[in-house]
């Protein structure tokens, strides 16, 4: 049991209730729904890791980024992949510099002791250690992205680290977090996460936003784009999702698309413009064929 530090009080001050989280997220240009705002509120206030799941492109990573902006603390991101290990996630010794240090000491005729050689100067901090060592005044936001891609040994290691909010470097001793990070994990459900990890976490499934919210999000992210363009693009992406594609587009693709259309100087989306820019939304040849077969006129709402 950790005594509530000053960082915790400051969090309570910044985020008194769910409504405040919504407003603050809005202020950093992240439009949330009540569910996500509640989830982020609980993660920050209960200091419990939050597991976010959802289709690719619904804004899981953005949510963590926005939370960090709201708390005005750094976002420390750890991208997981198959085979990730402690050296890449936690810390590593800077071997070339150590070797150089030994040589330099020799040249000067001095001796470099173990204590100096394995001191903080030669330690390369990786994301997990950076998040734990964050000096405050508020805790950092640690984003463990796509945790389902890491092996389950790494999951167990992560669990242990999150539980203790401490890291042991054999040569240096144990480093305790002054302000344990607010932890957000994301998963694309490529495999089942370990029960033990799930049990520790709060859980939120992010759905694709509805049309009105999609439009609002696009307008916020691409302010230069014309309103009808944002509306048409959002509606078209919604229709594309109904086609049963291999990779149905999400909001993030819709934002990219509007950005592309806007860069081309278009103010409205028609079949011809869609045909030219479809590659911004659909990334599989089969999907492109299917969308064209379904009729771009109908998809952009012209027919």
């Amino acid at each position: 049991m950790r005594p509530p530090g000053t960082g915790t009080d400051e969090l309570a001050e910044r985020l008194p209730d769910v409504e405040a989280v919504s407003v603050a997220l809005d202020a950093v240009d992240y439009l949330s729904d009540p569910g996500l705002a509640t989830a982020l509120f609980c993660a920050a206030r209960l200091r419990q890791p939050l597991l976010l799941e959802g289709e690719p492109g619904v804004g899981k990573t953005e949510a963590a980024r926005a939370l960090a902006a709201v708390l005005d603390t750094p976002l420390v991101r750890l991208q997981c992949y198959e085979g990730i290990d402690a050296a890449e996630a936690l810390y590593e010794w800077d071997y070339p510099r150590q070797l150089l240090g030994i040589r330099l000491a020799e040249a000067r005729g001095t001796e470099l002791g173990e204590g100096e050689l394995f001191g903080r100067d030669y330690l390369v901090e990786r994301p997990l250690l950076r998040a734990i060592e964050h000096p405050g005044p508020r805790p950092a936001v640690l984003l463990v992205d796509e945790v389902d891609r890491a092996d389950d040994e790494f999951e167990a290691f992560l669990l242990e680290l999150l539980a203790d909010a401490a890291v042991t470097v054999p040569e240096l001793g144990t480093i305790h977090a002054v302000h344990p990070p607010v932890v957000v994990l994301t998963s694309n459900r490529t495999r089942d996460l370990h029960d033990a990890l799930k049990r520790r976490c709060l859980y939120h499934w992010i759905d694709h936003p509805d049309l009105a919210r999609s439009v609002a999000i696009i307008r916020r992210r691409v302010p230069a784009a014309a309103t009808p363009l944002a509306e048409q693009a959002a509606a078209t992406v919604l229709r594309l999702r109904g086609l049963g594609l291999q990779k149905p587009p999400g909001v993030s693709e819709a934002i990219d698309w509007v950005g592309v259309l806007d860069a081309l100087g278009l103010v409205a989306l028609d079949a011809e413009a869609a045909d030219r820019t479809l590659g911004a939304v659909l990334k599989y040849r089969e999907d492109l064929d299917q969308a064209r077969a379904a009729g771009l006129d109908a998809l952009v709402g012209e027919a």
Binding site: G35, T38, R45, Q48, E82, R213
Partner: protein, 400 residues
């Protein structure tokens, strides 16, 4: 990580009612099959105390974030909360219904005894062991029975000896990690430096390391339709062995696709198979292989389950629907997977030619076709899977 459930002081004095409400809601969810542990109930109470929700919707979201642990539980959760709060839950934005083939209860069944590596579940196992059992029992009540239970003891015994003795070895892939090895291919800078320190900073001995080898993901898809009836029981045993022994993912299909990985993790084969049989409602039904593969590709494969995996499909290829669909889905699967092995028990019959519409459509996308019709042939299949052709993907793919 501080756990609010263990700190009643943190939630204030006026929380007695709240604690009761939270506990009651958690209990109702339990009875409905959502694994809402006391720990989660505690978190719910702490969240309510911190957020002071104003309305039903706010309360709904607090409950959902704290009490639910998986997407598959959301439908049940919504139903129970609607009963308790007396109002329908706020519609989720852009509300997409759960994919129809997503096994609604399968993922919610907490598994007991996952073997040696299930032990790191940690300290709270003892606490909610009983709770999990209760959740499992209530799920079981709603499960349908199949004629799987009607197996004679003699039949089970025979299979146990035939299949039970087969070792299932997962194929391997190069891992990211390295370990020291005298004749390794890479320099181990850390070890070299450590030794250099001993010799006054001069790296005299060059330490080497080599890549570790990790098990590759193994996915088994077994056809349990009517035409495969004679083999499906034996293959279910194999699925159980593979899930337990090689941490494989297991699916069965006839008219629809069911994921059986979770029930098959059960150590006791009889209990595991009974649960698995109950979860797949279409035993001995017709076959729609293309549709089942499409569901697999869309719900599991493209998310990454099949990516880089060795995928084994057990089926006779008798497709009732249009074989073109099957061909397309096999092509997708072949693009995702490292290797696709097709097991067709009928391939052993004399004069066999892959003429069944489905088989002919699938063959161009298959790396290896084996028969696997007898225990000996099954052992051969396992050897093919474990060997994981040295040429890598595509090298064994038959000419169209």
């Amino acid at each position: 990580m501080p756990d609010p459930s263990s700190s009643p002081a943190g939630t204030g004095a006026a929380t007695t009612d709240l604690a009761l409400v939270a506990a009651a809601l958690a209990e109702r969810l339990h009875d409905a099959g959502v694994a809402a542990t006391p720990q989660r109930a505690g978190r719910f109470a702490a969240a309510v105390a911190a957020a002071r929700p104003a309305g039903r919707e706010a309360l709904y979201w607090l409950a959902r974030v704290t009490l639910v642990g998986d997407r598959s539980e959301l439908a049940t959760f919504d139903r129970v909360v609607a009963e308790v709060l007396g109002a329908p839950p706020p519609s989720s934005p852009g509300g997409e219904p759960l994919a129809p083939s997503a096994p609604p209860v399968a993922l919610a069944v907490p598994t007991e005894g996952r073997g040696p590596d299930g032990d790191d579940a940690g300290e709270d196992d003892g606490v909610d062991g009983a709770e999990r059992l209760r959740a499992a029992a209530s799920v079981e009540e709603r499960l349908r029975h199949t004629d799987f239970d009607e197996w004679t003891e003699a039949e089970r015994e025979r299979l146990r000896t035939l299949v039970g003795g087969l070792p299932v070895v997962a194929p391997s892939r190069p891992g990211r990690r390295h370990r020291p090895a005298r004749h390794g291919h890479r320099d181990d800078v850390r070890a070299t430096l450590r030794r250099a320190h001993r010799t006054g900073g001069d790296p005299v001995v060059r330490a080497r390391r080599r890549r570790t080898v990790r098990p590759r993901r193994l996915v088994l898809l077994a056809d349990v339709s009517g035409s495969m009836e004679a083999y499906s029981r034996a293959y279910l045993w194999l699925l159980h062995r593979a899930v337990r022994g090689a941490r494989a993912e297991a699916f069965v299909f006839a008219t629809r696709l069911s994921r059986l990985t979770v029930p098959l993790r059960e150590a006791d084969p009889d209990a595991a198979l009974a649960q698995a049989a109950a979860l797949a409602p279409d035993w001995s039904g017709g076959t729609r292989i293309g549709e089942a593969l499409r569901r697999f590709n869309e719900d599991h494969g493209r998310r990454g389950l099949a990516r880089g995996a060795v995928v084994v499909v057990v089926s006779d290829g008798w497709e009732r629907a249009d074989p073109t669909r099957l061909g397309e889905e096999m092509a997708r699967l072949a693009r995702l997977a490292h290797r696709v092995v097709w097991v067709n028990p009928r391939a052993a019959t004399e004069g066999f030619a892959p003429l069944a519409g489905g088989m002919a459509a699938a063959l161009p996308h298959v790396d290896a076709l084996v028969s696997g019709h007898s225990p000996a042939a099954m052992a051969e299949l396992l050897a093919v899977v474990a060997a994981d052709g040295p040429g890598g993907r595509g090298s064994h793919r038959a000419a169209p």
